[in-house]
């Protein structure tokens, strides 16, 4: 079953096209990743899907409801974790959750039960009486994720949920998200962290300049755009030109990155045949980051 569907979705800010004709289908129970450099349109896309920002063009359905006409019903089943910390600094940790639960019309007793449950989940129950400004950045981020679970959402929309977290807290959040997925909660995850996308997402879409450049399972994207392994070689300029000539004459797929050359889609025995001084080369597993660079370039987008 398709849980989120967009058709020809477009968002303009004046003359700037932030999201350009995006059509997506997100299946029930999957974790769908949205990757892209700053300014690629990820947050704009997410804000439209969560009904807080109107689209310029195109349509959105969430759980078969048209977002335009059923925004309240849709928002009631969404768990939104925004990129910007908008916890309520006028309230304590527990009050934040109780107040949020009230926005969803969750009765008082149930709201209290769920608040304590999500606080325990993210190891914040000791801080339930703290004010928001007394929390560390990592605690705030965890609370932000916890708050997104208060309405037991069927669909979670997370905009960089682990930004600024230390590795311990990051793994805690990943673990909880994986658990939620196994309970059937669909996730739309927007991230800059390639490791996160590989670890959590069933499929990822790579966005650039408002468009979706490619969409598939992380492993498939890797094998399609860079192959299983990447060879890296660092050379001085003299050797480099020679090596580039060699690589070109052998018809190999490579990219020059500063002082280094990255070689893709290559079998190990192709490199030993005198193309390059392979003792200076390093072999490593290909990652989603390699795909990211290939699709979105190496220059700063903004």
């Amino acid at each position: 079953m398709v849980v989120i569907k967009t058709q020809n979705l477009t968002k303009n800010f004046g003359d700037v096209v932030a999201v350009d004709d995006v059509s997506l289908e997100i299946e029930e129970g999957e974790c769908f990743g949205l990757l892209g450099p700053n300014g690629a349109g990820k947050t704009s896309l997410i804000r439209m899907i969560t009904a807080v920002s109107p689209s310029t063009n195109g349509e959105i359905w969430v759980l078969d409801s048209d977002l335009q006409s059923h925004s309240r019903q849709v928002k009631a089943v969404l768990g939104v974790v925004p990129q910007v910390d908008n916890l309520d600094p006028d309230l304590t940790v527990l009050q934040n959750l109780l107040t949020f639960a009230r926005y969803f019309d969750i009765p008082k007793v149930e709201a209290h039960r769920r608040s304590m449950e999500v606080l325990r989940l993210f190891q914040l129950e000791d801080r339930c009486k703290s004010r928001i400004r007394e929390l560390s950045g990592g605690m705030r981020r965890r609370l932000l994720v916890a708050r997104g679970l208060i309405n037991s959402p069927r669909v979670m929309v997370l905009d960089e949920p682990t930004i600024g977290l230390d590795p311990q807290a990051k793994y805690l959040v990943w673990h909880k998200l994986t658990e939620l997925k196994s309970q059937g909660v669909t996730q739309l995850l927007c991230t800059q962290n390639m490791e996160e996308a590989s670890a959590l997402c069933d499929r990822v879409a790579i966005m650039h300049q408002g468009r979706i450049m490619s969409l598939d399972a992380p492993a498939k994207l890797i094998s399609r755009y860079v192959g299983e392994v990447v060879w890296e070689i660092e050379l001085n300029s003299e050797e480099r030109d020679k090596t580039i000539n060699g690589l070109e004459s052998h018809g190999l797929d490579f990219e020059v990155v500063g002082d280094k050359i990255h070689i893709f889609h290559v079998k190990d025995d192709e490199l030993t045949s005198g193309v390059l001084d392979w003792r200076k080369a390093m072999r490593r597993a290909a990652t989603l980051e390699d795909v990211f660079f290939r699709l979105t370039g190496r220059s700063l987008a903004e």
Binding site: F13, T50, A51, V52, S53, P54, S71, R72, Q73, K75, A76, L78, V80, P82, V84, D85, N86, L87, D88, P89, D90, L91, Q95, T99, F100, R102, Y103, F104, D105, N151
Partner: protein, 254 residues
């Protein structure tokens, strides 16, 4: 224009909880100041003022001070208060990601601002009554009048808040609109002391009809102008409430 739903009450509840959690930080300013003004102006200045009908000056200024400070409460809540929540705390962004819509937030802020007016007006009425400055039982209508007044001024304030670029813009709002209004609406002296042209202009500012009504109920003297004053308040309320529903959406739904 889209309308708000009953869910606005959730925003009102949020603001109420914050206010009563922090009342000791806000209440002294809002309650002490009008009482100080009442006593200083009423007793100090009042010693030099002789009114035509023999009324004591301190009694004369009670209705206007109640209306004036009820107005300030609504205004502060829906200018600085709302702007802080909207721009610095991003509270509204968090709320509109739940089943509440922007119009619910707008109405919740306005009705909360009106509640602040009722609180201020009621406490001031009680203080004035304790000083035996209130003589008519009609004065019990003051909380209702303050509620209507509060909706009016919260709507005007929130409309302004929804269009200003920065928090410093409120300096203009207070020094060019609110403060002059406080002095040209019959709070401290009867409008009849002004030249005719100023009297006419005074009726163009929204505090004037409110002072007119509070003066009538506290004095227990009803004039035919009362219905006109009430109609003016209702008309301005509908106008500014509707405009703020539109401009708040324009500001938040980007």
């Amino acid at each position: 224009m889209r309308l708000f739903s009953w869910r606005f009450i959730r925003v009102w509840q949020r603001n109420r909880d914050v206010f009563f959690g922090l009342w000791h930080a806000e209440a002294p300013g809002f309650l002490a100041e009008p009482i100080i003004i009442l006593l200083a102006m009423g007793l100090g200045l009042g010693a030099y003022v002789g009114l035509v009908d023999g009324q004591r000056y301190i009694e004369f200024i009670v209705p206007g001070l109640i209306a004036g400070y009820a107005m300030f409460s609504a205004n502060f809540e829906c200018t600085y208060g709302s702007f802080f929540r909207m721009e610095y705390q991003k509270t509204f962004d968090a709320i509109i990601a739940t089943p509440l819509n922007i119009e619910d937030v707008t109405a919740g802020e306005i009705f909360w601002g009106a509640t602040r007016s009722v609180l201020t007006g009621s406490v001031m009425l009680a203080v004035a009554a304790a000083f035996q400055l209130v003589h008519s039982p009609w004065a019990l209508l003051i909380p209702i009048i303050c509620f209507l007044e509060g909706i009016l001024f919260s709507a005007i304030a929130l409309f302004f808040t929804s269009v200003v670029p920065s928090i410093y813009s409120f300096n203009y709002y207070y020094s060019l609109f609110i403060t002059p209004m406080f002095f040209f609406s019959g709070v401290f002296f009867p409008l009849s002391s002004f030249p005719e042209i100023v009297q006419t202009l005074s009726w163009a500012v929204p505090l004037t009809p409110v002072v007119y009504i509070t003066r009538a109920v506290i004095g227990g003297e009803f004039q035919p102008g009362l219905l006109g004053a009430l109609a003016l308040i209702v008309a301005l309320t509908v106008l500014f409430f509707s405009m703020s529903l539109v401009t708040m959406r324009r500001r938040l739904a980007t």
